[in-house]
């Protein structure tokens, strides 16, 4: 593999990892809110979170582009998001968030709420209960969900190409690179990237299953 191809691979891994960390706070917050209690509008929020999973990724990308692009009211950002790596980060985050929320929600639902209640009677406030009781007990499910989100982010195409474009060296991820190379007839490079894509996806999904699977048998 050439230096350019390695750059694409490292960029993809780095931005996918960053997006997974970015969605962690909001993903856990949403998952927890959905796992505990009933509140007005809960089913609407649930549905919106699931949308990026079932809508065509280009459609989601178009929504992002419209909201962010200069003529979509997003012009108040002084620095550019569209057609930069930040747009890649955004696209990956939006597309992989639903996977994290679903896994984390299941994990939170499996935590006995009585334990949280008793922790409160022992004097622990909301945040302390969340971080010392809820999260550790939901740990495996959360990590499994993060790995799943990471795997999804690695493979993201439709939304990315819409809102970040396919700019070599700047926004070109592995999937975008495969697409360009095939289009211009550089098949060898396309296959190199394909191999990298398969290896990365395999590792991510296998480790995700490891965390999610073990929990059920424990």
């Amino acid at each position: 593999m050439s230096a350019a191809e390695w750059q694409i691979v490292w960029f993809t891994v780095w931005v996918a990892a960053l997006s997974t960390l970015t969605i962690l706070p909001i993903g856990l917050a949403l998952a927890f809110a959905l796992a505990r209690g009933n509140w007005p509008g809960k089913s609407i929020v649930e549905t919106f979170i699931t949308l990026p999973l079932v809508m065509p990724p280009v459609a989601t990308g178009l929504i992002l582009l419209t909201v962010l692009g200069k003529h979509g009211g997003g012009g108040w950002f002084d620095f550019r998001i569209v057609f930069t790596w930040r747009a890649v980060l955004l696209a990956l985050s939006v597309m992989s968030l639903p996977l994290l929320v679903r896994s984390a929600r299941t994990a939170f639902e499996e935590v006995n709420p009585r334990l949280e209640q008793i922790a409160r009677t022992l004097g622990a406030g909301g945040w302390r209960v969340f971080f010392t009781i809820t999260v550790p007990l939901a740990g495996r499910g959360i990590i499994g969900g993060m790995l799943l989100a990471f795997a999804r982010a690695l493979g993201e195409f439709g939304a990315t190409i819409m809102v970040a474009g396919n700019i070599p060296g700047k926004t070109q991820t592995i999937s975008l690179g495969i697409f360009e190379n095939v289009t211009i007839g550089q098949n060898a490079q396309a296959y190199h990237l394909l191999a990298a894509s398969v290896v990365l996806a395999f590792i991510a999904v296998w480790s995700s299953e490891f965390f999610l699977r073990r929990k059920k048998t424990a």
Partner: protein
């Protein structure tokens, strides 16, 4: 519902499907910049001969890749010689039918409401021009031509970091029209199509590369006669008038 009836229904629908295909007559894979003009010409042709023409418009490089992969095209109408040569080298087109009748010129466009001042190639290097949309300069003809121009002006290294490559020239046009980029380089004929962009600089013929639109019969064509008829029609005076109407230049 028993199996026999199912089988007959499937066969019947397949038959109907193939009947439909025959009605399409010929398929033309053509460069994106030819979208509007060829649709018009194709309609004229059908009115005269009754032969229906279906178009697949896109970046010439993408179309070439599709033909290489076996897509059913009767005619390939490319925006540059390189993509035509690509197919000829693979023995996918008939060299005897190859002809180039059109040329075009490049322009720099900006969004209609933009206040940018770009009066020369050099102005593209200004700091307030942050992102420039080009059709992918690696292989899409419009981008390849734009890069050739800028290389000739010795401005390519300064401009390359600002380039946002798009899938084809119409996508570059759309990017400028929506205001997502500051400027773009497209064909003059494209700029005329959109109301949301304005031409801020026309590339003089001397500065730009030689733009050529070759067309040829695809060897795998199932309708070679109908296809050749259309190729001839495209070279006719009648078609030439429509081309000129849309801003294309005729090569002679």
């Amino acid at each position: 519902m028993n199996f026999r009836v199912m089988k007959r229904l499937v066969l019947a629908s397949l038959l109907c499907g193939s009947l439909n295909l025959r009605a399409a007559d010929i398929t033309v894979f053509a460069a994106a910049s030819l979208s509007d003009v060829l649709t018009k010409i194709g309609a004229n042709f059908q009115a005269q001969t009754g032969i229906n023409v279906e178009f697949n418009f896109g970046a010439s490089s993408l179309l070439a890749q599709q033909i290489e992969a076996g897509a059913p095209a009767d005619i390939f109408f490319s925006a540059d010689e390189a993509q035509m040569a690509r197919l000829e080298n693979d023995n996918l087109t008939d060299p005897a039918t190859r002809k180039s009748i059109l040329a075009n010129s490049l322009v720099v466009i900006i969004p209609n409401d933009s206040a940018l001042q770009i009066k020369s190639a050099n102005d593209l290097t200004n700091a307030d021009v942050k992102q420039i949309a080009l059709a992918d300069p690696k292989a899409v003809p419009a981008g390849v031509y734009a890069k050739a121009w800028l290389e000739k002006m010795q401005l390519w290294p300064a401009i390359e970091p600002k380039v946002v490559p798009t899938e084809n020239v119409r996508a570059a046009l759309a990017a400028v029209a929506s205001g997502n980029v500051d400027a773009g380089v497209v064909y003059k004929t494209d700029a005329a199509i959109s109301k949301n962009v304005k031409i801020t600089y026309e590339v003089p013929r001397a500065d730009g590369p030689d733009i050529s639109y070759p067309m040829a019969l695809v060897k795998g064509s199932l309708q070679p006669d109908a296809a050749k008829k259309f190729l001839n029609y495209l070279s006719s005076k009648e078609a030439g008038q429509v081309f000129t109407q849309y801003g294309f230049l005729l090569r002679e």
